[in-house]
């Protein structure tokens, strides 16, 4: 809220305006140079042929045609979506269960459990990818394969097989982010008034009914938030597969993601035009995915309201 101020202070109002513009200017100046200009330049580059050194030449939609006709692009988009779903969807279910448990009044060592579940989130993605890279190494003696063998299953070539690589990467994404989502759901659960449960219990509602008619509907905004973050994050997956696969990251396609495809075009193949076209396509995909998310969740929200009344 701005101050209410009388006419005689007008000169001070002008001073305030100058101060305000001055205070917000650092962000806008930096944004203009390293945010807006590069974004616009990317849109421009997407229609140029350029190797980063010589002259640019206008090629129309050629870069987009090249990318969209490249089977490796479609493979990387497929990989991104599959790993995104496998890595993030289970987090919603497990995260809600964990948060529900951590919110129980009778629970002992609550803070200890909460800190333990959250611990993976503080490690960097590079660290996670390296540790899981050893856990899921392609050796027969890898710990992951040892565990599979214990259950009578065959060893998997985790870094070179179609599903092995995807599953390993999804597991590391799941492991690192589950604590984050749990904490958000926990905040959501704590915002639900206790007397709602009290009233439901008096009316004879079972735990499952409470979960179905109180917890889930009131938790919906928090679920929407995490789904949004997860979707955008999953579409930008880069660090985990790149570090996990190491030297073969850009030469194999089992786990190549869209951002890796973009990176490879620009910085390994010196094709900045198609790289930028890929960036523009990625922007388009993210906007569409976010819009679908918003559309679906606003529908769900409406239903939630209907249930309450």
């Amino acid at each position: 809220m701005a101050f209410t101020r009388k006419r005689k202070y007008r000169s001070e109002a002008t001073k305030d305006k100058i101060s305000a513009y001055l205070y917000i200017s650092p962000f806008f100046i930096i944004f203009a140079i390293i945010g807006l200009y590069p974004a616009i330049f990317s849109l421009y580059l997407a229609f140029q042929k350029w190797n980063g050194l010589g002259e640019m030449s206008f090629v129309g939609l050629h870069n987009f045609t090249v990318v969209l006709q490249d089977p490796i692009f479609w493979k990387s988009l497929y990989n991104t979506v599959v790993m995104g779903i496998m890595g993030t969807a289970p987090q919603i279910i497990v995260g809600i269960i964990l948060a529900f448990i951590l919110n129980q009044a009778y629970l002992k060592f609550k803070n200890t459990f909460r800190a333990m579940v959250f611990l993976p989130y503080i490690t960097s993605m590079v660290a996670v990818a390296l540790v899981f890279g050893v856990f899921f190494s392609s050796n027969d003696t890898a710990l992951a394969n040892y565990i599979l063998n214990l259950f009578g299953m065959d060893s998997v070539a985790w870094k070179t097989s179609e599903w092995g690589a995807k599953i390993a990467i999804s597991i590391m994404v799941f492991w690192r982010w589950i604590g984050y989502n749990t904490i958000i759901y926990l905040a959501g659960l704590q915002s639900i008034p206790k007397d709602l449960y009290e009233a439901a219990r008096i009316d004879g509602a079972s735990i499952l009914q409470q979960l179905r008619y109180i917890t889930i509907p009131l938790l919906k905004p928090f679920i929407v938030l995490t789904v949004f973050f997860s979707t955008v994050g999953a579409l930008q997956l880069f660090t985990e597969p790149t570090v996990f696969l190491g030297s073969s990251a850009f030469s194999r396609t089992e786990a190549m993601t869209v951002v890796m495809y973009l990176y490879r075009d620009a910085f390994s193949l010196q094709s900045f035009g198609t790289g930028s076209a890929t960036a523009v396509i990625l922007l388009f995909i993210i906007v569409v995915a976010s819009a679908i998310n918003t559309y679906l969740t606003s529908g769900v929200r409406g239903k939630g309201k209907g249930m309450k009344s």
Binding site: S19, Y21, P26, G35, G246, F272
Partner: protein
């Protein structure tokens, strides 16, 4: 009935213990492998107790990558980015919370909209820009794009409009305080808790950044710790003991800080995303 109840609690604790074990085990296993020769990795059954190669493995890390230099670079980068973001965000947050000026709402919404732009969209021109100014392989080049933090402005505006009263500012004005003096002497002391929250968010996010540094840093002496760690895994014949030793020593400082301030960390997540 009571028996059922107890059984339910038993499964609740079992589920929690399994989840906590799975969360913590990789840390323990990382420590075990950091103390074992690489060959221990091939033993069946797997090695699950610490060995005596803790120092040897770390020496191999030091031979392979400039570990301490990279940690130092990362620390400097995170500190500078955090301070710059706190300064930019609190100033802009103050303006958006307490001043009236034309275009305020449009400008604020446009800041929020910049959050939607995926960082990869500008990657190529940003690289080109940084290269043109001779900032490749410099720490400044590695940190400059993280000065942009729309979320920080959003959080600061929320916090300032809730916790700094208009009367207080009005009174300071009547005493003849300049706007900047008000910011420094009145607003800053009040928003220190918000600095802790935003500082943790920015510091940990910058610490973990990879793609940008991987793109602009090619000289091993300028590596941040993430790029240095990842560079251990680029040869086909890798020494697992060495890799996990490097990861272990790069991770342990964060774990210690987290265990000391874990409530603050967890609060920063909920405040940073739920509000």
């Amino acid at each position: 009935m009571i028996k059922n109840f107890k059984l339910g609690r038993f499964f609740v604790y079992l589920f929690l213990i399994v989840a906590a074990f799975l969360s913590v085990f990789p840390f323990y296993w990382m420590f075990v492998m950091a103390t074992r020769p690489s060959a221990a990795y091939n033993s069946i059954p797997p090695t699950l107790t610490p060995g005596d190669q803790l120092v040897e493995n770390f020496q191999k890390v030091l031979e392979k990558i400039p570990f301490f230099g990279a940690m130092f670079n990362t620390l400097i980068m995170c500190l500078v980015v955090t301070l710059v973001v706190l300064l930019i965000s609190s100033l802009a947050g103050f303006a958006f919370a307490k001043f009236k000026f034309p275009g305020k709402n449009i400008l604020f919404v446009s800041i929020l909209l910049t959050m939607i732009i995926p960082p990869q969209l500008g990657l190529i021109p940003q690289y080109y820009l940084v290269a043109k100014f001779g900032l490749l392989d410099t720490l400044f080049g590695a940190m400059v794009i993280f000065f942009l933090n729309p979320l920080g402005i959003f959080l600061m505006r929320q916090y300032i409009s809730q916790s700094v009263s208009d009367e207080l500012i009005e009174a300071a004005k009547l005493d003849g305080c300049s706007n900047f003096r008000i910011f420094r002497s009145i607003v800053l002391p009040i928003i220190l808790p918000a600095f802790a929250t935003l500082g943790i968010i920015v510091f940990t996010a910058t610490w973990g950044e990879f793609l940008w540094q991987f793109t602009v840093l090619r000289d091993p002496d300028m590596y941040t710790i993430q790029v240095a760690l990842s560079s251990m895994n680029t040869t086909s014949n890798v020494d697992f003991g060495m890799i996990l030793s490097g990861v272990f020593w790069a991770t342990i400082p964060l774990v210690i800080v987290f265990l000391m301030f874990n409530k603050l960390f967890i609060a920063s997540i909920t405040e940073g995303s739920v509000k």
